[in-house]
Amino acid sequence: MSKYDQLIKDLGPRKFSLKGKLWVALLLAVIVAGIIAYVDQLIEGQVVTNMRDYVLWGVYISNFVFFVATSFVAAVVVAALRLTKNEWRRPFVRMAQIVALACIIMAGITIIIDMARPDRMMNLFIHARLQSPITWDVIIIPTFIVVSLLLLYFPLLGDLAILRDHYSETNKKLSKIYGFFAMKWRWSEQQIKLQGKSIRLLVLMIIPLGLILESIDAYLFSTTYRVGWNSTNFGPYFISGAMVSGLGALITVVYIVRKNKQLQNYITEYHFDKIGKLFNLTCLIYVYFNINEYLVPLFTAKKGESEHLETLLRGEFAIPFWIVTLAGLVFPAILLMFQRFRKPRPLYLIAIVVVLGAWWKRYLIVTPTLLHPYLPIQGVPENWHHYFPSVHEWLITGATLAMALLIITLLIRYVPVISIDRLAEEEAERLTSEKKAAA
């Protein structure tokens, strides 16, 4: 199996460096703090949050929307890259799958965290009512988790088998584990055929599933009468936003992995330039939808609506709104048009800013609307007129983000981030064709 040796050395599992260990320890610490806060929330009730009867959804829901949006990257990469048979997709596909899986799992957990009676979760199945968008979520999120898990797993079989064979002498325990997950993979014709079929089926499923997932997420808001949510624009608006935050997260992860594993030979500037262009396109589309959502209504907005816009554009939420819109979306969309900014490092920095902006953007979609009900806010304590997450909310939200990062970190630690199997195959193909050409 010597043809794999170099690839395994570069891409195979590698022990955590000191930095890696510290990183995992930090994530674990944040997670533990969050779990403690959550247990307290279970005991005391949601009163430990700063949500109240007016701002009845807060940072949990916006965090949930963020996770759902980011998990859309699986569908984007499949749609834009696999189906169009783009050559440069290889280094991104697997990491996109990993990011998507981590995010959709955390989305599921986050929505449970927001529920005040998680002990009654079974009611969602026992008494499920089909017309509620939450029921749609209950159906679609587990489905998406399963499909994206399989979409990560099936293409991985070959790699797992390679690693099983590679470690068969040196590390029996690891070899056994990989062997277990490789499910007796032997590159037999039948296996390869079955694998190909399954993957094609999953690929066909993930795109509509992703679109449905994002739309349902938007419907959670647009099926209410709230000013600023009750928008028929919301479905496509959420989908385009999801493309942006998903690609942003993917680029960030890819850059960090590339740097830490020294994969400059595998993920080149060419690749970054290509994905940067795709990223640019999605940002521009999102700018367009933002114009539809915030600028066009300025002309005809009814009273409630214009008040809502006012708080965003000029009022209480103006500063975060403009930072998120300009720094998190408009400037990146412009900068990305220049090749110079699609080089790995600038692209990475832009991606990070965009992801942070995308997170706050969700917050700005949820909160300001709730502070503008149809009837004035009266007869409730003064602090119900505002909302900023409590310490509990920050700790718990931080923990969910840390968990997502931990899942990504661990998968990247043990799973080849680029398919060794495929790279070797491509290499072999190239050699044979070269030979043919020579002959």
């Binding site: 005391e44 009730g45 949601q46 009163v47 949050t49 949500m51 109240r52 009867d53 007016y54 009845l56 959804w57 927001d114 529920m115 005040a116 009676r117 998680p118 009654r120 979760m121 009611n123 969602l124 026992i126 008494h127 499920a128 009512r129 017309q131 509620s132 968008p133 939450i134 029921t135 209950v138 959670l220 808001f221 099926t223 209410t224 009468y225 709230r226 709730l370 009900p373 149809y374 009837l375 004035p376 806010i377 009266q378 007869g379 409730v380 304590p381 003064e382 119900w384």
Partner: protein
């Protein structure tokens, strides 16, 4: 001591569960009975029915006996409503002076102890040039209720008699209904409610039903105005209606076309027609069961200012 409270609590939960089951069985059996006996006075003899009693034992009863016993307890299915009724309310803004007796009474009888009352009296003024008025609001018991549509578990439900009620034993606390309601009328139990009952807990538990919201309120679930079906059953008016010194609230039945504020009983259609009655946010299509009469020739607005408290709707007991 600690053990003790735990024990009573467990017992209390246990009994509640059984009672709930028994009343469901009872309710279901009764509907059957009603249908079966619509045209006969005597039921088929010898046919026994299996039922669960309060202690959880299965007992066999003759359907004829059943009817007599059960008629006293459950006379209708809690989820279906009181047959033949369609409850409605009219709020006459011209008479409202922000006396807040309605709010106090509602708070008291529903043991509202949080920071947000179910019945609120808003100080309204649309623009600077239009004059201010007081506007009491409660749950509109919409015929197209946004809250019911979005509830994932059918904890909020619409009845045939027009009421929108909440099953606090089923609610999962997602608060989607609160987001959906355009009238901001729903209240959440963010913590363990600090209710105090004069009667013992067993009694409270026995009365526990969507038909008397707040008895008791349950942590992590929603509450709102229930339109007081527990009063209607006794043939009495909702607490807010009887409490109002000015007769602002008219309560009644749309099928019978009558409403009353306790002093005068009037034809609903005539009242609405003569006073140009309207409903709140008609354009949203929620079809409220609560009508408003415009604040024309109203009592002096200023007198209400005395009672007005922008930041409080539930009076807190004085902490010594």
């Amino acid at each position: 001591m600690d053990e003790n409270t735990k024990d009573t609590r467990r017992k209390f939960l246990n009994n509640g569960w059984k009672l709930g089951l028994a009343s469901i069985v009872g309710g279901a059996a009764l509907t059957h009975l009603k249908e079966g006996f619509a045209f006969e006075t005597k039921g088929p003899a010898g046919e026994k029915m299996e039922l669960m009693d309060v202690d959880g034992n299965i007992i066999e009863v003759d359907p004829i006996d059943m009817e007599e016993v059960d008629l006293e307890q459950v006379t209708h299915n809690v989820r279906r409503g009181i047959p033949g009724r369609k409850f409605t309310m009219v709020v006459d803004l011209a008479k409202c002076q922000n006396a807040l007796a309605c709010q106090r009474s509602c708070n008291k009888h529903h043991f509202v102890t949080g920071d947000n009352a179910w019945l609120k009296v808003y100080k309204m003024q649309e623009t600077e040039d239009t004059s201010p008025y007081w506007m009491p609001t409660l749950c509109m018991h919409c015929d197209q209720p946004a809250c019911v549509t979005v509830c994932p578990v059918d904890a909020t439900f619409k009845r045939e008699d027009g009421l929108v009620l909440i099953d606090n034993d089923r609610c999962v606390g997602c608060r989607f209904c609160m987001a959906a309601c355009p009238y901001s009328t729903r209240v959440f139990n963010w913590n363990e409610p600090k209710q105090e009952f004069e009667m013992n807990m067993d009694m409270v538990e026995e009365m526990h039903s969507p038909e008397h919201a707040g008895m008791p309120s349950i942590k992590g679930t929603v509450d709102k105005c229930d339109f007081c079906p527990h009063q209607a059953e006794k043939g009495e008016l909702p607490h807010c209606v009887t409490a109002c010194p000015n007769g602002v609230f008219y309560f009644g039945d749309k099928n019978e076309d009558v409403v009353t504020n306790g002093n005068e009983t009037v034809r609903l259609s005539k009242l609405l027609e003569e006073n140009a009655g309207y409903r709140l946010f008609e354009d949203l299509g929620t079809e409220p069961s609560v009508y408003y009469l415009p604040p024309k020739d109203r009592l002096p607005f200023e007198e209400g200012l005395e009672n007005y408290n922008e930041f409080q709707s539930v009076e807190k007991p004085d902490v010594p």
